[in-house]
Symmetry: C2
Amino acid sequence: MSGQTTYADWIAVDWGTTHLRAWAMVGGAVKAEASSDDGMGALDRDGFEPALLRLIEPWLGQGRIRVVTCGMVGSRQGWSEAPYVEVPKKPCDLMPVQAVARDQRLNVMIVPGLKQPAPADVMRGEETQIAGFLSTNKDFDGVLCLPGTHTKWVRISAEEVVSFQTCMTGEMFQLLAQNSVLRYSVAGHDSDQDAFADAVSDLISRPEKLAQRLFSLRAENVLNGLDPHVARARLSGYLIGAELASTKPYWLGQDVAIAGTLKLADAYAAALKTQGVIARVYDAAPLTCAGLARVHAALTESV
Amino acid sequence: MSGQTTYADWIAVDWGTTHLRAWAMVGGAVKAEASSDDGMGALDRDGFEPALLRLIEPWLGQGRIRVVTCGMVGSRQGWSEAPYVEVPKKPCDLMPVQAVARDQRLNVMIVPGLKQPAPADVMRGEETQIAGFLSTNKDFDGVLCLPGTHTKWVRISAEEVVSFQTCMTGEMFQLLAQNSVLRYSVAGHDSDQDAFADAVSDLISRPEKLAQRLFSLRAENVLNGLDPHVARARLSGYLIGAELASTKPYWLGQDVAIAGTLKLADAYAAALKTQGVIARVYDAAPLTCAGLARVHAALTESV
């Protein structure tokens, strides 16, 4: 690597649909951090390089620097397509794809996502989080849950992603809480833990009741003045309960770890606890960076 | 009633959250029709009378005219609250509530909605459609399904609404098809009937699979080029299938009628047919007007 850059040996980038985050790195250590709203969804193909430069220009020197990226930047609508790699696959063995940059200082590499032919499923970005998770949990043999807009349930054995399943629970919650008739009846952020746990258990034992339970939140509010904070906890519980009903083969009798923003990860842990499953919780924030650092290290060794 | 009005003996009004529709009536016959986007959601309390006058002014004469309304106009956020009446109740016996109007030509009556304490549920507007349905199906003893943004399943016996259940299926479909990540993978309007029926059956037999099935539409499109028209039919089938799983006590072994826009009513009929239930389909368009005409006739008789 060039020693002529100002702040960084290399740069790590997490480039999702709605956000762009970058870290100035020296080895595995973060020296600076920056982010913007220039997610993949807001950019056309020619917009990626300028968006990246706007963010990392202060970290660039005269020399060429490696920029290791992951996420939707590698999708068909991204900077350059990094085709999905089929599972089973070790995420730390994924070979990044080079993206064409006009600025000669940039050596941009994109980590590919993973695909599963049947049942059809895809991930982009989470494979790098998983690589980061495995860097400090090398012998993990079980299921890693990555809750978020699109929650991933991932079977891991011998450092390989064996299979995975995506649930749109986070997106459904946002749509229902903010854009549906339920927006008049749910409010707040802090969860009523008992209401949440009861709703989870209700839906796991009767998943067919989801369609009925949702509107009941509105009706209970209109007729009986149901507290919107309780309604919000129930909505979250119904949707996570429905997800757990759908993903039972992933957590029943398994060693389960959860990596996400701590609040959401704790909610999933509480939901699993209603079913007698004790899951370990990890903060996902450093995992992407740790995963990208593994890719950078592997590229450096192979040079 | 005054004989001095220009076009109408009375005026029928269906006032929902997003739309306002009015009919100039002579007895039970429609003489003219008008509509606007001045739904309840777009108006504050003082906005209702002007919105109505903008629409029906051409039909007014010198005299006082009765305007019979139903729908969200009677909600707490409406023109004047017409409190919910508890089931069991004959919808044609509902006593409308008078709303205060400044314009002396207007005699505005609002039909109240129905409520069910447990499981908590409410309807506004559908009670009038049901009254209209019963005007030509007096001896109906079974379940009436009113599909729409919020589908109602209604047990009817001896002209009474005995119980009912609301499902947000229509709203969920709109949100997922237009606002979620699935919007990139679903398209079109005409349904693939086989894909729809298979998705319905799949979800009725495995309702716990909903969370998994939804994202599969995106993944199948990305990996295998799933036709967005087929994906749309499946999305509709998964959601209606989940609704049928939730409402099974309403249709299993029951005499079922469906009243809605014909395309949506046909979809529900096709979904029920996968379960061996043959439902009669009715066009809902004239039902509200017919129901309001019954209220008008009852008020006229009681004068």
